[in-house]
Symmetry: C2
Subunit: 421 residues, 2 copies
Amino acid sequence: MNHDEAPDRGGFTRRALLGTAGAGLLAGAGAGVAGAVALDRGPGGTPAAAPGGALGAARVAFHGEHQAGILDPQQARVQLAAFDLAEGAGRDGLRALLKRWTGAAERLTAGEPAEEFENQVALDAGPCSLTLTVGFGAALFDKAGLADRRPAALEPLPAFPADALDPARGDGDLFVQIGADDALVAVHALRVLQRLAAGTAALRWQTAGFARTPGATARPVTGRNLMGQIDGTNNPKPTEDGFAAKVFCAAGGDQPAWLAGGSYLVYRRIRMLLDSWEALPVDRQERVIGRRKADGAPLSAPPGAAEHTPVDLAAQGPDGALAIPADAHVRVAAPAANGGAAMLRRGFSYHDGLLPDGAPDAGLLFLAFQTDPRKGFTPVQRKLSRGDGLSRFLRHEAGGLYAVPPGVPAGGYLGQQLLEG
Amino acid sequence: MNHDEAPDRGGFTRRALLGTAGAGLLAGAGAGVAGAVALDRGPGGTPAAAPGGALGAARVAFHGEHQAGILDPQQARVQLAAFDLAEGAGRDGLRALLKRWTGAAERLTAGEPAEEFENQVALDAGPCSLTLTVGFGAALFDKAGLADRRPAALEPLPAFPADALDPARGDGDLFVQIGADDALVAVHALRVLQRLAAGTAALRWQTAGFARTPGATARPVTGRNLMGQIDGTNNPKPTEDGFAAKVFCAAGGDQPAWLAGGSYLVYRRIRMLLDSWEALPVDRQERVIGRRKADGAPLSAPPGAAEHTPVDLAAQGPDGALAIPADAHVRVAAPAANGGAAMLRRGFSYHDGLLPDGAPDAGLLFLAFQTDPRKGFTPVQRKLSRGDGLSRFLRHEAGGLYAVPPGVPAGGYLGQQLLEG
């Protein structure tokens, strides 16, 4: 935990601060929060009581033990992108780039202009809870002369049945996740990073997604995806025993020391076959998922149960059949069915127009942070790709795996532990 | 004006209401606003003081003299789409469809589920200021046996120099503009309309855009586009003399009676060449536009001027040159230079990933409501396409022209005046 973080009622952190106390407030990791007002945001990304007009001024500290954008509530808008390092940029080019990005992230997340550019599309707004999160793809290590520091866990993911991944829309050397509660702020931050990368790294792919706008729901709720399903109920909570060990790396075994406090991020662009899905009656949709659509309560639970009622995989209906069908998503994905594998999912919806066949190009930008993909995403996805009834309605179209370095202390820069350790 | 509308300080209407007073409140056009709380939103779409957590509950009345989504502040998110009428649907099919859409619009804008579909992706949120606005393309009239009622002003727009319009992403028989402050609410409304159209009309194209999230800016401001320019300063204000005559049709001349209280909408998907634009120094960008970037003040104005300082096209600098260059956008687009032509613009930004050449597929979803495109968009665009310095940075890639029928009284339906008049 950072000094400026404290658990809120939802179990997540209060990293979001109102920016009225001045940009210098969080320059030191130990500066504390005197004079700043914490926004009380739950895991659904919705302020419990957003001060009027404060959405723009809300800021998330850039400095900390972990990068921002992992534990923080999801913002209304996200930009995901990856850059490829230019030939010849090497380790020095990479370091200079990461220093430039760090400087820009410090300024933009504090609501200050990025000094290099007067071209401020976001002049009127504050930081709008802007976070920038950076990850390293496997190919970066060779290109930057860091092959001996490539984590073993960054080995390519296996090919899963029915995967049809477009490499042009996935992978990449340097991944960025940019979240903000205002779309223009997020676009602007991406453009700044892109210009700062010019000559050193070129944009390989970019896509945008969304979650709920703060205040759209009356109380913090787990997000709902484009299928209409509540999604993320089983996410590990920071208040749980062993939470950090599920999300953040520690040195030891074959995990490199430079990644301590970091994480692995699995990205998947998962198109949803919405026309087919919406043609199913709701009770059939619920049996595919294993939860009730309206409130997310497990089908194993009695009336009156709610989203967080524990799932009882053994429960039977009056007819003796399993209450949660054998191929229901919650059964196949349950940690208990996957050796306890857990990931912190932070997915966003996307909706990018019509495909040539008239179907919506829409679905889930799946993002999952985890300690080790070999024990997290890979075993779970192996199982889902074979036995999950939901997979008939999904198409994995692109993806990536990235090592997410730890957070940046004041005076440091992104990836410093990798480049100098 | 509706009974439930009153001008606010920004000059626009207070049509947005908090939904706490129950869904029946606005069922009658004369029901008034007793018990409801008006959101004070200016033309920039930003509540001056959004009550905490009220974004979801904010609603915009569906019924009224004019359709919603014209005078109302722009929402954070928009879905634009057009449908083509199926062969054989005819006038009866069109009427039945418009009645179904009306019923869904009444329910969804009040935050109620669309009865036909339990598949509620937006269950947790209120209406989030949802508006649905419908327009009719020229081709609809022949297909529905209404050729004798097609407005003369709906004749195809002329081809302008440098136009490169993709018909697959423009035109269409039935246009819809769906605005909401939450992306999921807007997507859901589109899916409901699409399902209600099944068998009668098929989606031809769809795209999504964004404006500022309410609360992102500290005060109501004119919107800023992806170039970073303040955009919309010269929009006519409802408080101006003759405002209605610039935006809404009246019967007479060659304007049909059924369109009284309606409007014409010109849509253009205008890609911005952001890489080229951002490579220009800010002072050169300002000379292309004719306004200062930071605050939107005209270049003709002295220091201390602001966005709404009147433009002085004759002003000269110390060197005797025009303060606002001959090809500056504000000069070429000025109503004074176009026979007083005026349009109510309500454009949104879009940002849809990368094009094959690596440039961002991003720009402006231009939307302009006007009394007669022959006296509004056409003369202005003819001039801009030849003399506007900004046009070097723009590409018109798709477009449409639609007759927007008047608003719906309680008990009526969209297009009733056309179909029954």
